[in-house]
Symmetry: C3
Subunit: 321 residues, 3 copies
Amino acid sequence: MTAQKPGIQLNKKGRLKHFLTTEELSRQILTEILDTAENFAGVGERAVKKVPLLRGKTIANLFFEPSTRTRTTFELAAKRLSADVLNINIEASATKKGESLLDTLQTLESMHCDMFVVRHANSGAAHFIASLVAPGIRVINAGDGRHAHPTQAMLDAFTIRRHKGGFNGLKVAIVGDIMHSRVARSEIHAFNTLGVKEVRVIAPKTLIPAYMRALGVKVFHDLKLGLKGVDAVIMLRLQRERMQGPLLPSADEFFKMYGLTEERLKVASPDVMVLHPGPINRGVEIDSEVADGPRSVILEQVSHGIAIRMAVMSLCMGSVE
Amino acid sequence: MTAQKPGIQLNKKGRLKHFLTTEELSRQILTEILDTAENFAGVGERAVKKVPLLRGKTIANLFFEPSTRTRTTFELAAKRLSADVLNINIEASATKKGESLLDTLQTLESMHCDMFVVRHANSGAAHFIASLVAPGIRVINAGDGRHAHPTQAMLDAFTIRRHKGGFNGLKVAIVGDIMHSRVARSEIHAFNTLGVKEVRVIAPKTLIPAYMRALGVKVFHDLKLGLKGVDAVIMLRLQRERMQGPLLPSADEFFKMYGLTEERLKVASPDVMVLHPGPINRGVEIDSEVADGPRSVILEQVSHGIAIRMAVMSLCMGSVE
Amino acid sequence: MTAQKPGIQLNKKGRLKHFLTTEELSRQILTEILDTAENFAGVGERAVKKVPLLRGKTIANLFFEPSTRTRTTFELAAKRLSADVLNINIEASATKKGESLLDTLQTLESMHCDMFVVRHANSGAAHFIASLVAPGIRVINAGDGRHAHPTQAMLDAFTIRRHKGGFNGLKVAIVGDIMHSRVARSEIHAFNTLGVKEVRVIAPKTLIPAYMRALGVKVFHDLKLGLKGVDAVIMLRLQRERMQGPLLPSADEFFKMYGLTEERLKVASPDVMVLHPGPINRGVEIDSEVADGPRSVILEQVSHGIAIRMAVMSLCMGSVE
């Protein structure tokens, strides 16, 4: 339980205000998110999948880049909390008329929106928006450029904790294009804070940023060495459009070296968990035998994603003074 | 009341599970749908057009081909049952990322969707999806290729029953491009099962499939002969894009022979009903005088469409063990 | 309180039925809208931003031209009244299939929609639709061509009344492309009826229609002269695409003469209010210093827009016999 520096994500009492990154948050805050999600995990299995917690609140999904899957999970989370949801595709609306971002935000605030769920292609966009909004408005980062995707990291942490009971002593490997992955960045910060014993990244040199070792991460370029003894392996989704240029391997080459198969998993812990943020590229970064096998928790991750988003939404809204 | 073969549409107790086609279902099941719709028909006329039957359920409209009109009726039916609705345009989302259909379905299941309403350009798509989903998930076919459009057939049956009191002794004619019509196929099966005395199809030879007579249908190529003494005539919507090729008449030629006018209706029963699934092509397959005249029940069909969809949704959901 | 001619907007008892234009409505009716909005203005600031007034009603947003901003305000207003909302983009749906407008409307009526919110590029479209719908259906004009945008006019009136306490003795100037502005037309009628002492329009000769003086409006071509002593100035949004052709000034030229700055506001009343329908073009028709300054009520207008739309929706629905 480290001391908290009261950044933009926390209010004066140290409670979660915006959820933008896992980076600055204490183990206490991250654990509170996980514990709250535990309460919501059962809601999806009830006959009536709704709680009245955010009834009468208005949540705007501000998607500056399209992502049906992520938008759908936030929309479902909001509706199960009984909030009203506005889906706003920003490209298609205001910017066409040349409206500035600030004006768009202030307009939505004036309509008494309570929360913005922000997806943007630029790193830092959610922070920027959080710095602009009025005091009572909450901002949740649904993915900003290469920077962060904190709800994805937390649902992975939630899934791991549910299976392993906790984080102490665990070795977790993240495999793939670490360089361009907002998911990897958010996971590393979350796992470090939550007390994972060893976080590994596995990728070719050209796809691992220089600052990785400074984050206390073990770097591997060989899949077999990296997977040895791990309790959980998180496969990143291959962004084919990124796999270009002279310094990078071709996609084929990459997967020959880093694609996850049952064979390759043999060096891991016998009860290793396999995670993937989805949607998976079958036979590309992950073999179908693994994705559909007993070690895969990929579909659980989806369910947990709703619970985590309900938790983050209700915690942030609950800190409005 | 024929014996039921417990196909994919029924659960072990013989209750409706998925609604994919009118083809295998017993008269008992089809009648139960009509009777249930009768209870919902009044909801649309109440001051508060809502019943809490599916509160807290999540219904996903999976539209692989766009159809605002059909999607809207299912959305309204779901909302009036108090369910939460997700509209998912599949073309625009997952497939762009190369996600497989099965993965998309499993992802939505993991989000605890309870029901998929499926519209697809390929025949058999809804059956295929029903064969893939988890036991608790329900699938409703909102039109698949040339195969079936069962809710349309049932709303037509409902409309006829409301006016005629039942189906015994009735003669019903379906006019138009029978060959390519999923509506016609679903109607023929439903009407036969429900005990309509005589189902007729009226179209040029090139637009009537060879297996028609095997379905116990009377085939006519002459509109006047076919309409003689009928109690209800169902005009199919002309799909102009289909009316091409050397074996088929031109659209003009077709309508000179098969377009419905007051004059041509004179040979029918004096209290003949005129149905059309909409949207109508005025002055093309149907004259405005007929479409807007006293025999037309086209707008009633729309109202009944909501009631039928509410009935099918609640019956399917009610069979979850 | 003038006598009412019972036009299409009023029912037999003289109560508001459709809200299509501010033009024919009495001061009593316009004041009733403002007073009702006063009751709703607080709803947006409550913890639970919902009232159950229109629960179980179905409101269809029929947008024949896209406008995310306006659509969003009507959607929010409807949801805060607890109605179910259907967003229907007409271009993308029925007209593609060649369906006539009347058939589209009748189809939606048959689905038991209670209200149509209509946005259309053609002047008179909302009136036309109101003349077609069944007795129990209500129509609200969300902007039709150059004709009217009555909810925008009423939210401006509401904002002025909140600050000034009333309209007696006020001088209000509208600045910009009066010729093409549905907002200006609706405002002039509303302000005249509500008893504003002096309504001014300020624009180059080519952008002021000939009939303006007949409306009792004072016409100015010089910004400084026109702003002298005004209590409120309403800047119109510059539609760049309109600023072309030999008779019109270039956009640059126009703004050199008519752009609103702090300096130019000095001749106005010391407590002048600055309004703008949004989205604003910063540094174009209005300087940022003014838009963000203490005289600007632009963001209040947005909030009031929700209250006005809730008021109009509930008044129209309340007049259903």
